[in-house]
């Protein structure tokens, strides 16, 4: 139960103010001031299907006659805490308690729940708070204004004479009060006000407080239903297998042994995969083991990791597209004191703890899907496409998500499950084994970053950053792929607030046969990672302290400077790294993150390196300026978790190919950081009233170069290909 919140002053309608559209607000960088007057665009928006006794006030708010408020969540909950933060934004302006709120998953409906950033309905890129902070507050304020208006009309008083608290409207002069639910039907029939005044931040009673999460009580009790937990009458269970060699097709399947096993019902053979359907997952798994599958030769049977690295490096020498050009960097880089480096980033699997799964029931020309997805609209359209039916014939039931990290921004698995379900009577739950989940993925692209810089009098005067890799955007959101530039791949490299003199940032698109997808931290993992390692190298070779070196480049970036100074102070930069029994060689490194996430993070990492070359991260200190914060406890949690994700990647993770096969399959060879390998993690929030930035991914990005730089400090070896290769830093090497 949450503590009672103090009463909030009533907002007022102000019809005389000019309309400001949602789009204009977004394009103006969402300059949001307290008490700002905003235009409302909910004309189409009484969507969603309210349950019995529920009145829909707009696309996001249903008010039940008993006073409970159901909020439809445009961004999905996959651990990042956004069901709570979104509810806080609505509840703040609607003036209800979080304990009065039920969260509902949004159906596929781009018109109402499409991301203001992506247009399509998608949760990713650490955009939820920056994208929805204002629209959800407006939804809450609008609904509240209509409820107030309905009560005012009923009582024959001015709406401005009414106040609200926890879903109750009061008229102080007469002592009357009424619950939202009692006037909701009448309020919902009122004309939607076109002008609304949002609260001044000084009046916030929820936003900015460490509110309890609304999803964790059920999760603690094991009651939360993830996609994999769906139970339907007469449901069958299936598991699938794709070609072990990338691109292979099924040529022959001997089903006899599998069909003889207890509980095995059916084998579904498609051109590129085989599924076994049974009474439970165990039967499906046993059946799969008993199948004898022959695969046709694949054109990618020669795919080999060493050759993939070489191919990308060769591609990086080819023609690129300028993503940013200021001055003539190439000319400036012909002479003077020059520095050069390349950094390489591997394919990565997401390895969500909830393995990929999707339940589908195809019947009577329609289809129903139960899944946890970051893209409900894509889920709907891929199922419709598979079946050749209208998207409106596909119902998508979204769920709580057991880890997304970008994997569930892809609907490929939903397509496969639908293709299997086409051949099954009744609903079928298709569950990937961990081995299929790891080895039949869309992976984070292989990236190659080439950097050059010229230094004069301790200052960088020219900078060239060339990023080579496959484009996710070109496939995932084609309208965003313009002029040959993948805006995600170069994010963090372009428009750097560092003063770098003449700048050229280029993108070289080079597609490999491996399908690629967003992965927590996205483009900045490579672009920021390589930049921060390179700056460390230049600082070291010009004999300037790495923090001081960065400070000199940040004259025009006060927020970046703020987090850098904070982290240096909190980590006691200049003091030696934490001593550890893990290894005698210790070091500390620093890195800074400034990118389109809209947040500023600085990180100091301490490492200890064993004689055998194993690395243990012993301490991580992060300073973050994320603008206005909705839930500070969630912010800390995301920094802690993001840091663990980044440590895991740089220490342990890569997907590699040999003979066309992915060499990793489960947690023994795609290793996760465990609790006994954990550093201490300190997060310091630099308070700010700037527009909200994102925090789901920045921790993952910033910790990796800090670790690489710390390993250099400990060993004198520059890590230029991720993950860290222990052979390079073993003492006996």
């Amino acid at each position: 139960m949450l503590p009672d919140r103090r009463k909030t002053p009533a907002a007022s309608l102000t019809p005389e103010s000019p309309a400001i559209t949602r789009r204009a607000l977004l394009h103006s960088g969402m300059a949001i001031a307290g008490g700002l007057l905003v235009g409302i665009d909910f004309g189409r928006a009484r969507a969603g299907a309210p349950g019995p006794g529920n009145v829909s006030m707009n696309a996001f708010i249903h008010v039940a006659t008993d006073g409970r408020i159901t909020m439809i969540m445009p961004a999905v909950e996959m651990g990042q805490g956004v069901y709570t933060s979104q509810a806080m934004c609505i509840a703040e302006e609607l003036d209800v308690g979080l304990d009065q709120v039920l969260a509902a998953h949004a159906p596929p409906d781009q018109a109402n729940y499409g991301s203001p950033v992506f247009i399509v309905q998608a949760t990713g890129g650490s955009t939820t708070t920056s994208a929805w902070f204002l629209p959800l507050r407006r939804a809450g304020a609008t609904a509240r204004a209509m409820l107030l208006q309905a009560a005012a009309m009923e009582w024959g008083v001015e709406a401005s004479s009414l106040s609200t608290d926890r879903g109750v409207i009061s008229h102080k002069a007469s002592g009357r009060s009424v619950r939202y639910g009692e006037v909701a039907s009448k309020a919902a029939r009122l004309k939607i006000p076109t002008q609304i005044r949002l609260k001044d931040p000084s009046q916030f009673r929820l936003i900015g407080t460490p509110a309890r999460r609304i999803d964790t009580a059920d999760k603690t009790a094991g009651k939360t239903v993830y996609g994999i937990d769906v139970v339907l009458p007469d449901m069958k269970f299936a598991t699938l297998k794709g070609s072990p060699v990338l691109g292979g097709k099924v040529s022959k399947v001997d089903q006899a042994a599998a069909l003889g096993l207890p509980g095995v019902r059916q084998v579904v053979v498609l051109d590129d995969l085989v599924a076994v359907v049974g009474d439970h997952m165990w039967a499906a798994v046993q059946g799969m083991r008993a199948l004898v599958i022959e695969w046709s030769p694949s054109p990618h049977a020669g795919l080999d990791q060493r050759k993939l690295w070489q191919e990308l490096e060769a591609a990086s020498e080819g023609a690129g597209v300028a993503a940013q050009r200021e001055g003539d960097a190439l000319e400036a880089l012909k002479t003077g004191v020059l520095f050069e480096a390349t950094y390489e980033f591997p394919f990565l699997a997401h390895a969500t703890m909830e393995p990929m799964n999707c339940t589908v029931h195809v019947h009577d020309g329609a289809c129903e899907v139960w899944v946890g997805t970051q893209v409900p609209g894509f889920a709907q359209s891929i199922a419709a496409q598979v079946l050749g039916i209208e998207p409106s014939k596909v119902t998508v039931n979204n769920h709580y998500i057991g880890g997304g990290f970008g994997r569930r921004l892809e609907a490929d698995g939903i397509g496969k499950a639908t293709r299997i379900a086409q051949h099954v009577q009744g609903p079928v739950k298709v569950v990937w084994t961990r081995e299929e989940d790891i080895s039949q993925q869309r992976y984070r692209p292989l990236y190659h970053d080439r950097l050059k810089a010229r230094v004069e009098n301790g200052k960088i005067v020219a900078w060239h950053h060339r990023i080579t890799g496959g484009s996710i955007m070109a496939r995932w959101l084609p309208p965003a792929f313009k002029g040959g530039i993948d805006i995600d791949a170069v994010d963090g490299a372009v428009k750097s607030p560092y003063d770098l003199g003449a700048v050229l940032v280029e993108y070289v698109r080079h597609e490999l046969p491996v399908e690629v997808a967003f992965w927590r931290g996205v483009g900045p993992n490579g672009s920021v990672g390589s930049t921060e390692c390179f700056l460390d190298q230049i600082a070291h070779e010009t004999r300037v302290d790495p923090v001081e070196f960065r400070r000199r480049l940040l004259a025009r970036a006060p927020r970046a400077l703020g987090v850098l100074d904070t982290v240096a102070q909190q980590a006691k930069w200049g003091a030696p790294a934490v001593a550890s029994t893990f290894g005698a060689r210790t070091g500390r490194g620093v890195a800074l993150l400034i990118s389109a996430f809209g947040s500023y993070l600085a990180c100091v990492a301490d490492v200890a390196v064993s004689d055998q070359g194993d690395v243990r991260v012993t301490r991580v200190v992060v300073a973050a300026d994320c603008g206005r914060v909705v839930n500070p406890d969630t912010l800390i949690a995301q920094i802690q978790g993001g840091v663990v994700f980044g440590i895991t990647a740089i220490l342990y993770n890569q997907i590699t190919f040999s003979g066309g096969r992915v060499e990793q399959s489960n947690f023994h060879n795609y290793r996760m950081l465990r609790i006994d390998e954990m550093p201490s993690i300190e997060a310091h929030i630099v308070s700010s009233t700037q527009d909200p930035g994102g925090i789901g991914e920045p921790g993952t990005v910033v910790v990796q170069p800090a670790i690489a730089n710390a390993v250099f400090a400990a060993t004198g070896v520059r890590i230029t290909r991720m993950p860290i290769d222990r052979k390079l830093i073993a003492k006996t090497a």
Binding site: G79, D215, M672
Partner: protein
């Protein structure tokens, strides 16, 4: 037919004896709080108690359970240590996506039941078999200490 005692309730089950307890719980008894993560006892998402001892249910054939009592996340609040851990998990907002947390809570509850005051090394030893991809380890450690002190 096999008899299986789960959270104090006896079930009669007709499945192959080599079927892992995990799939009996999830797909036959429809108790989906216990999670599938890796299938080879590397991640701990499927952790349950067998007579109070934490075990990985994905590697435990149902035929080997015998008359030992199975406790799952759905029933762990009935144990003193389980209730303390669950409360600490909420007090400290340990959970993010939550998928691994049934297993984390079961491992932590078993630890606390056998060791009321675990130190960091005890926590490492008991919890290193449970992977959390969201990276909630800082709070898992704090949560166990918080529960021990409650």
């Amino acid at each position: 037919m096999l008899a299986l005692l789960v959270n104090g309730v006896s079930h009669q089950i007709d499945v192959p004896a080599d079927m892992p307890l995990l799939w009996v719980l999830r797909d036959v008894l429809q108790m989906t709080g216990t999670k599938f993560g890796c299938g080879i006892a590397l991640c701990g998402a499927c952790t349950v108690h067998l007579d109070g001892v934490a075990v990985r249910s994905c590697q435990l054939p149902i035929g080997l359970v015998g008359d030992r009592a199975v406790t799952t996340i759905e029933g762990v609040s009935q144990t003193g240590a389980g209730a303390k851990i669950q409360k600490a998990w909420l007090d400290l907002e340990v959970i993010q996506c939550g998928y691994c947390q049934s297993g984390q809570i079961m491992s932590a509850a078993a630890l606390l039941a056998h060791n009321p005051n675990p130190d960091d090394a005890d926590i490492d030893a008991a919890m290193a078999g449970n992977i959390c991809r969201c990276g909630t380890y800082v709070r898992i450690r704090e949560g166990i200490k918080h529960a021990a002190g409650s």
